[in-house]
Amino acid sequence: MSLQLIPPDINVDFVGKRYFFVALSTLINLAAIVLLLTVGLNYGVDFAGGSVVQIKFDKPTTGDQIRKALAGLGLGEIAVQDFGTKSQNQFLIRFEKVRNIGSIGTRIEGALNDAYGSTNQAHVLRVETVGAKVGHDLRVDGFLAVAVATVFMGVYIAWQFARISWSFGAGAVIALIHDVLVVSGALVLSRFEFDLTTLAALLTVIGYSVHDTIIVSDRIREDAAKRRREPLESIMNRAINETLSRTILTSGTALTVLVALLALGGPILRPAAFTLFVGIITGTYSSIYIAAPVVLFWERGQRIKGAAARAA
């Protein structure tokens, strides 16, 4: 007998608890919006503009010493943070607008080596400088691309599921917006930098969210075509239970891989791995507790309207 994590005859009443979970999700989403508007994402240089320079020292040093050594360069406010593990002696130096961005790497290396002398050499590993205009363009382009892609996915899903209900497209899009908000809120709280790699991870979350919603909705579509008399609510519950084993397995394996990425992927990949980790959890959750209820609420509204029309 092969392994079986979820008993085949499982029957959890998912849909019956929808009011509670929709209310909970709405609260979490509102909190995420408040966080985004008040605290805001910790934009990396990709989107905020400015420079970030990654430095490796031969021997340990402190952020204060680095700041002191760079004071003469006139870089304005400098933020210095540790990068990676302590033993690597790596630091990220970040500052806002600089003039003459071409030569910043050598200027910093020169200033540090003047201050520290030959006993503790500094090596510039990475320089990223993004002009304010480019940062703004990247933000606008990225947002536009995601928005248009979302609309097209919604239209495609609505069309493919139209036989059961036009609202599946809306359900998938609302679930997707829910997931983006939850992940953004988690990013605000974690203070991970939001840069292009994080954006790519967010795009991946969007892809996964829609994929997961389609898988669950597909089973609803199939069951609804077979059992025309059964109320939609119980069809949904049945479909969600039938796909539960697959849902747990797929998101479980994905989360396992992400744990590997979080642990071994190094500091550059960590924000992306975190984004994906939160995104897979919320993406799986929203297919069940957001996308399906949206369809139910919509259908109930239609039925009431239909009944009103018949009564008139």
Partner: protein, 552 residues
């Protein structure tokens, strides 16, 4: 990617094998044949990927090295990425100023008094007629000889006109300037001797420069940024520099400075007219020079340049000729005698490297407008290697975990799914190499998503087969229903992902594009490997009537 070999073999081989496979799949062809084809695809993919592994291939395999390799993005292999903005409005202004000189010359040739011409802040020309009586003759001349300019009476200034380019002409000037800037920067980059560089136009007025694996990014930036406008002007020997510094330069003169040095740069009072520009330079070389003057640059002029230079030196013997590069006076030697030969020496206390850079920019021509670096990303080669190593490690650990889990949980069907996954990864990388697409960190995110989706495709099919077996269906029916019922979900999910990929590619920039490419390719190879190819195994088993049990 420039310089990379375009080799159609990879893509043709893969498409042919996959095409036959799909045809057999949909026409219900032999499962056995399809299994062989799947094996052939694995072998083909492995062979095509050999060059990307950069092993030392034995002699008889050397021809394989001409196959396309995977291109790693700068975030993975290290290098410099620059986005340059070309100040095109400056090119339009420069061009208008030249037209202003043309107007004066043309007026003189037509027996009119040359008008006074100055340039407004927005670049348009303010033309003041010296004799108002010539107004109609001047307007006539303008409409006849300068149809690329629009002429309007200047507000509140009788007898004065404002001239600027017609919109199509201005667009033409911008487009020419952009082409020239691209060409010039490409020439300069070529002289750096870095392999597989990219110099490409991006948007309306930006240029993207990518220098993989470059050791000295500072030098590249210095070379790219130099406008390198070379001009020859005469020093004014009638007025003193110190008076001009105090009271402003006399009309027709300007103050320019020498290169930075201790105690401040030397000021020079030069006459504004440009006697000759750098566009007549055909070659520039570094010469050793003596101990005192140091290395200098010897510039060779073309025939027209030689003539102009001979004339200007013979007319101005005894005066100082200022050699001005990007508005800096490098030297102002006395013209001792007419120089008919066409060789000019530019001295100026250069270090050898400065002289070398100067020679490069003079050879590659001047930029039509200044450029500004608006984005820079430099990743040291060691850091790029670190990201690859850490990424690889976590990828391998994650992949092994997934493969092992599938095999344990689904037994035989799990092993089949593992085969599908491995085929998927191989094909994906192969197609990426064949398309010469660049693999970046966001691209890897796209790969991870499509891999997740193809694992899910197998989970869907296998769960469905278990379900049908539990409901008492025969293994044969369970396979058929499992694949059929899973298809609608897999189709819809993959199509919507593919559509999203296309849109992200269309609207997104750089990294978002990289994500979109791997997403689209991964969807295609994923559906093929994990859905179409694994089905062949069951069809073969059914065809030999051995499918009494399935291990799922």
């Amino acid at each position: 990617m420039e310089g990379a070999t375009q080799n159609p073999i990879t893509i043709v081989t893969l498409l042919a094998l996959a095409g036959v496979f799909l045809w057999l799949h949909f026409t219900g062809g032999s499962g056995k044949l399809r299994l062989w084809l799947a094996g052939a695809l694995v072998v083909a993919a492995l062979v095509l990927l050999l060059p990307s592994l950069q092993l030392n291939l034995p002699g008889w395999l050397q021809p394989l090295n001409s196959l396309p390799k995977i291109q790693l993005g700068l975030d993975l292999q290290g290098g410099t990425h620059l986005l340059l903005e070309v100040k095109l409005e400056d090119a339009v202004k420069t061009s208008l100023r030249r037209r202003g000189d043309d107007i004066q010359r043309e007026a003189k040739d037509n027996k009119l008094t040359p008008p006074q011409i100055s340039q407004n802040a927005d670049g348009s020309l303010l033309i003041k007629l010296v004799r108002p009586a010539e107004a109609s003759a001047f307007q006539d001349l303008m409409s006849r000889a300068f149809s690329d300019l629009t002429l309007a009476p200047a507000p509140n200034q009788p007898g004065a006109y404002v001239a600027k380019f017609t919109p199509p002409e201005a667009a033409q000037v911008r487009s020419n300037a952009m082409d020239q800037a691209l060409e010039t920067i490409r020439n300069r980059i070529d002289q750096l001797g870095v392999r597989e560089t990219t110099v490409a136009r991006e948007g309306d007025n930006d240029i993207l420069v990518q220098l993989p694996g470059i050791q000295d990014p500072e030098r590249a930036k210095e070379l790219i940024g130099k406008t390198a406008v070379l001009q020859f002007k005469l020093l004014d020997d009638k007025h003193s520099v110190s008076d001009a510094l105090r009271q402003g330069p006399p009309p027709g003169d300007e103050i320019l400075y020498g290169p930075p040095q201790a105690g401040g740069p030397t000021p020079y009072l030069v006459e504004s007219p440009v006697l000759m520009t750098g566009d007549v330079v055909t070659d520039a070389r570094v010469r050793e020079g003596g101990r005192i003057e140091g290395p200098y640059v010897e510039v060779r002029l073309n025939r027209r340049g030689t003539e102009i230079f001979a004339a200007l030196t013979s007319q101005n013997v005894g005066r100082n000729l200022a050699i001005v590069l990007d508005n800096t006076v490098y030297s102002a030697p006395v013209i001792k005698e007419p120089i008919p030969g066409g060789d000019v020496q530019i001295t100026g206390n250069f270090s050898f490297e400065e002289a070398h850079n100067l020679a490069i920019v003079l050879r590659s021509g001047s930029l039509p407008a200044p450029v500004e670096i608006i984005e820079e990303r430099t990743v040291g080669p060691s850091l790029g290697r670190d990201s690859i190593r850490q990424g690889e490690l976590s990828f391998v650990v994650g992949a092994i975990a997934v493969l092992a889990f599938m095999a344990i949980y689904y037994n035989g069907a799990g092993l089949l799914a593992d085969f599908g996954l491995i085929l998927n990864i191989l094909l994906l990388i192969c197609v990426m190499a064949a398309l010469q697409a660049t693999l970046t960190l966001p691209g890897i995110a796209g790969i991870v998503l499509t891999l997740g989706m193809s694992v899910d495709a197998n989970v869907l099919v296998n769960e469905r087969m278990r379900e049908e077996l539990r409901a008492g269906k025969s293994p044969r029916e369970a396979v058929k229903i499992g694949y059929e019922r899973a298809w609608s979900a897999i189709r819809d999910s993959n199509i919507s992902t593919f559509v999203a990929g296309l849109i992200l590619f269309q609207f997104g920039t750089g990294p978002v594009k990289g994500f979109a490419v791997t997403l689209c390719v991964g969807v295609l190879t994923g559906v093929f490997s994990c859905f179409v190819a694994t089905r062949a195994w069951y069809d073969w088993k059914i065809s030999v009537r051995r499918l009494s049990t399935i291990s799922v």
